[in-house]
Each structure stands twice: as C-alpha cells, then as structure tokens.
Amino acid sequence: MFDDFNSESGVRNDGRARDRQRDDARNLFEREVPLGQTGETSLAIAVHAWLDGELPESVLRRGDSARDVDFWNRLGEETSARRHMRTPTHIQDRIMEALPQHAPQLITPWFQRELVLTPASAVAIGSALVAVTAAATAAFMGVIR
C-alpha cells in the first residue's frame, strides 16, 4: 500500500502522469537494495548505527549529526510512550464472550486422515478395481482392433 497526505483530494488533471510517477516512486521506495550504494541516503550511516544500538550517542554529538540525534531523541520519547500502552480492560472480556463454546478441535484434511480398512470395504475396493481394469482392457482392445 502506498498513501499520501493528499490522497483524499481526488485525481488531478494530470492524474495519469501522476499515477505513473507514484508507481515509479513506490517501486523505488520498496526496492530492498543496500543503502549507501545509490547515493540517495539522506540519513548518515552513523545515525542508523546509533539508532540500532551499535554506536554511542556521544560519537554522533561530536560530528555533524547532532541535529539528527535531537530529532530522533524527540521521536524516541513518543515511540517509548507507545511501548507502555495497555489493552483496554474490556477487550479481554469481549474476546472471551466471542469465543466458540465448544473446545477447539484439530481439523485434519482428508488426505492426511487415517485409513480404516474393514473386510467389507476391502472387498468393495477390490471389486471396483477389477471392474475398472476389465473396462479399461476392453476399451484398449477395442481401439487396437
């Protein structure tokens, strides 16, 4: 899915061209190629390393990335706050009420089910095989003649 802030504003006069541009942007955006090889990286590798816990903040403070560090620290406060969100208390009761009353059972596909062969079914299967073979042989002989 690709969305933008102006997605509700409708199609522009040049809608077709815009769609094509958007498709191109989407393809570029979702392509998984190593960063740093295309020269399009806007965020320093060191900032990513810091955000991934591989570099201490002090290293970035000494360089040109102090502004990025401030930005991500601010964003980090918001993402950390979200980490402590709890499920609303009524949800558990709602889920329990909506569960089926019977215990869950394993639904086995027919091809994985155990085959139970009784004497009667063995005779029936054997007879069917003989009949099918006889019919196939008769048809084959008819074709040859």
Binding site: D3, D4, E78, M85, R86, I95, M96
Partner: protein, 188 residues
C-alpha cells in the same frame, strides 16, 4: 545473559503449551491466560499499524478467535504464531482501507508531562507521527513499529516475519529516512 533469555523463552513456551493442553481438553476459560499474557504487545502492534483503537480492538478480537479455533494446530511458540495472525490481519486491513483520519484514545494513556504546553506538543507530535507512518508502505511501517515502538531486535523480527535481518534493516532504514524527511522541518 543469552542463556537466561533463552531459558525464560523456553519456560514461557512450556507454560503456553500447558495452557493449550487445558483448553484443548475442554477448559475454555484457560484461554484467558493466553489473552492476558499476550494482548498488550499485540494490541500495540495493531494500534500502531492501523492508527485506530477501534480497528486495533477488532483485529485483536478476530485474531484471538482464530487462534482459539485453530489452537490444535499450534506448532512451536504460541506468541509467534498469534503475532503472525495479528500482523496478517493488520496488513489485510491496510490493503482494503484507505484512511481519511487517525485518532488515539487519550484515556488509555497516562500523561507524564508537567505542563499543558508539553502535553499539547506531545499530542501534536503523536498525530504527526501517525500521519507520517500512514504514508509508508505496510512493510516499512511494520518494520519501524516492531523496531522502535515494540523494541524488538532484528533477529526477533526476522524470526517472527520469516525474513532476513538484512532485509529488515533495509526496511527500518528506509522508514527512518522517510519519516525524517516528512517530520524534520517541524521537529528537528
């Protein structure tokens, strides 16, 4: 440290298996243990992916019902299995819905800010972050949320999503760059 974490995981997995056996034996109420154990991280994931508390609640409910119905098919970790159900539910919703607005239920979150101005700033940042996240493709949004909101390691993410650490790093990096491009003018 690594051994201890593994032991804790194995302990939880064993406890989950015991609960699952009880549910399969007919003790329906035992399923509540699994719901209360895992609903918080799953709700957070659904909420950050969809941006809507109502939708997140619906996805959580449908996912746990599905998990209950197919409980006999669980192989391995229950938490990873149910996470995949929720994650797929979010992606399906994102495929079908184009959102017009986002909102958060303020009542569910405690405020740690001293002044109304700080609270206002935070609300604004939250709304802007939601809007920026909504512009990302689902795969990038999912990777960013798992890394920065849920605080998972790349290895754990790879395990849950069935992909490689390298691919996930790429997604997180792209998500960061897109978010910074959208938000830095206002917040940097």
């Amino acid at each position: 440290m690594k051994t201890t974490e593994t032991e804790v995981d194995a302990g939880l997995e064993n406890q989950d298996q015991l609960v699952i056996q009880r549910v399969l034996a007919g003790n329906r109420d035992a399923f509540r243990i699994l719901i209360s154990r895992y609903s918080d991280p799953l709700y957070r994931h659904a909420l950050c992916m969809t941006g809507s508390p109502d939708v997140a609640e619906d996805i959580l409910q449908m996912s746990f019902i599905k998990a209950y119905q197919h409980l006999a098919e669980v192989r391995g970790r229950f938490d990873a299995w149910v996470f995949r159900i929720v994650a797929n539910g979010c992606k399906d919703w994102l495929k079908n819905i184009r959102r017009s607005h986002l909102s958060y239920d303020e009542d569910d979150q405690a405020s740690g800010f001293a002044t109304p101005e700080e609270e206002l700033d935070r609300t604004e940042l939250r709304t802007d972050l939601d809007r920026a996240l909504a512009t990302l493709p689902a795969s990038l949004r999912e990777a960013f949320v798992m890394k920065h909101v849920e605080g998972r390691s790349y290895e754990e993410m790879a395990d849950l999503l069935g992909t490689t650490v390298g691919a996930l790093k790429m997604r997180v990096h792209r998500a960061r760059e897109a978010l910074q491009a959208l938000l830095e003018e206002k917040y940097a």
